[in-house]
């Protein structure tokens, strides 16, 4: 499409058809969606897509979702999502063979750490594990070792399927540490507490995190204290996902706002005014 122009402004987000290959429940309120779509050829770890879910013309907005795995040659993309409201419930009723559209790839994703020799720590809260899985894939491809902390409210919400998809990529000495807020599985307590334990034992050059904002704020504070680089994948209510509406503002330490859908969703945690 005509996109290049004098100022190098590039409309890089497109509209793509998708076909549902699988959409199945994998944990309490948690689904795994696999689609076939040409967006797979361009999407990078940490970027997201905006899904049109048919069936209710009174809800006009799309649903933004990150992905856990994209297979460019096969044009497959895998998402994990939690049914929190009307739109995600509607999404959970889509069946194999159903067709709709995604807008994407949206935003800027994870960046490889500057120090490629250091070890990384990936920290997720809830379904934030989906984009963290994509980050894990990116680090594995680059030959960078990492450990994972994945926190959940309770054991019933742990998507074992996603964890089993991540395990084969781990380095020999690496581990996925599971935590639950209610202590029903793994480490009992918040991911920040588990992170304090891990950083006391190992040295990490970089932390990548995605989860509830309060959790990421806590992770970012620990990283700031320890001088560890930290990237955080932020969430905002989105109108468009491609910079047209100005809805998705993230406050910056430097003053003013950045756009979550264009400058993010992945931000350098020390630039965010938490």
């Amino acid at each position: 499409m005509i996109a290049a122009n004098a100022q190098g402004l590039q409309g890089t987000v497109g509209l793509h058809e998708f076909c549902v290959l699988a959409n199945e429940q994998v944990a309490r309120d948690t689904f795994r969606l696999e689609i076939s779509s040409l967006v797979a050829k361009r999407i990078q770890p940490g970027q997201f897509m905006n899904f049109a879910v048919p069936g209710d013309p009174t809800h006009i907005l799309r649903i933004p979702l990150s992905f856990s795995h994209a297979d460019a040659p096969d044009s497959h993309v895998t998402m994990y999502y939690v049914t929190v409201g009307e739109g995600t419930k509607r999404l959970s009723s889509m069946r194999t063979g159903d067709i709709s559209t995604v807008v994407g790839p949206c935003g800027k994703g994870w960046r490889l750490p500057e120090d490629l020799s250091g070890r990384c720590l990936l920290v997720s809260g809830g379904i934030g594990l989906a984009p963290i899985a994509a980050a894990a894939g990116m680090l594995s491809d680059a030959g960078i070792a990492y450990d994972v902390i994945a926190g959940f409210q309770t054991a019933a919400r742990i998507p074992e399927r996603l964890i089993s998809e991540m395990e084969p990529l781990l380095a020999d000495d690496a581990k996925i540490h599971l935590a639950t807020d209610d202590g029903s599985y793994g480490f009992a307590g918040f991911t920040t507490r588990l992170m304090e334990q891990l950083i006391a034992e190992h040295s990490y050059g970089c932390v990548l995190t995605c989860g509830p904002e309060v959790m990421m704020h806590g992770i970012a504070a620990i990283c700031a204290r320890e001088g560890i680089a930290c990237q955080a994948s932020m969430e905002r209510m989105m109108g468009c996902g491609f910079g047209a509406c100005g809805a998705c503002n993230i406050p910056l330490v430097a003053g003013g706002y950045a756009s979550c859908c264009m400058d993010g969703p992945v931000f350098d945690a020390k630039e965010v005014a938490w």
Partner: protein, 308 residues
């Protein structure tokens, strides 16, 4: 013009290749949509409201979804006229060269701020075919009441700005006292009227008892407001003789056709662009198809052709 129907319209001196325009604040600065289609096929685009100096806008959350619409409290966040021209000026000038009219929207919190914004647009954005004055902003000096919320106030701001603008001047009206304010704007020198802006509305999260936006109220837009907008366009068209730019909940060619029948010369797509970024070309094709079905050779024959 595949169909043979003339789709070109003249919006108060802005010569558009077709009646499709995009609403301020819902289309970025145009380039964001180029990945979806060739934006120059549209009749015009309208920029986000731009002020003399950058405005940060409101805290999050700035947007929520309601039945058949959305509510926003973006707060006219923009990088200022100079910032916009520096970042996007070459793109916008190129869009004009490609045949799509660029309308720069001016915003302010006082008459002086509007005059400053318009002066800068005149100086820095000579490429734009038109200037749209958004008189739905709060007037800080007057306790935050709308800059153009009464015929007297609207007249005052349009008169103050008119001599500074060498190009066609559109006035973007709030959905209040439409016939009187429309007349006041025409008398004050507006070349065309754009309406409607969002309708002030409220949405409360009953669990937290808080507003679903960062402010108690926000502007409602989308299909929910379309019938109100059609009525207001019709009222404005009857009150004035300058052209009307019809805005409000246009999601299909049929919605656009309704606006034209009610008296709109141009039709402007807003909220629909957000979930449906190819809405512009689709609505244009549907509108042209409707003109063919109506058996006219010129879309202008259908402007105000509503019969009671």
């Amino acid at each position: 013009m595949v169909s043979g129907v003339n789709m070109a319209v003249n919006l108060g001196g802005i010569k558009m290749r077709n009646p499709i325009n995009t609403a301020s604040g819902t289309f970025g600065f145009g380039w964001q949509l180029e990945g979806f289609y060739d934006v120059s096929m549209l009749g015009a685009i309208t920029t986000k409201g731009t002020s003399a100096v950058p405005w940060e806008g409101n805290p999050a959350p700035r947007l929520c979804e309601v039945t058949s619409g959305i509510m926003n409290t973006i707060g006219l966040a923009n990088p200022g006229v100079a910032g916009i021209v520096e970042k996007f000026g070459a793109y916008l000038a190129g869009l004009e060269d490609r045949g799509c009219r660029v309308i720069m929207q001016a915003a302010g919190h006082s008459i002086e701020e509007y005059r400053d914004a318009v002066r800068l647009i005149e100086e820095l954005a000579p490429f734009a075919s038109g200037v749209e004055l958004n008189i739905s902003c709060p007037n800080i000096a007057r306790g935050g009441r709308l800059v153009g919320g009464t015929p007297e106030d609207a007249s005052e701001v349009v008169r103050a700005v008119r001599p500074l603008v060498s190009r066609p001047l559109l006035v973007k009206m709030a959905p209040v006292r439409v016939p009187e304010i429309a007349k006041a704007c025409e008398d004050a020198g507006a070349d065309a009227l754009s309406l409607i802006n969002t309708i002030n509305a409220m949405s409360i999260d009953i669990h937290t008892r808080r507003s679903r936006l960062s402010k108690p109220t926000g502007g409602l837009s989308g299909p929910a407001i379309h019938p109100i907008a059609v009525r207001m366009v019709w009222e404005a068209a009857r009150a004035v003789s300058i052209p009307i730019n019809g805005i409000g909940g246009i999601a299909t060619g049929a919605d656009a056709a309704e606006m034209i029948l009610a008296g709109a010369t141009a039709v402007t797509i807003g909220t629909q662009n957000l979930p449906d970024p190819t809405a512009g070309p689709r609505i244009l094709a549907e509108l042209e198809q409707w003109a063919v079905e109506q058996n006219v050779s010129d879309i202008n024959e259908l402007v105000g052709a509503f019969e009671c």
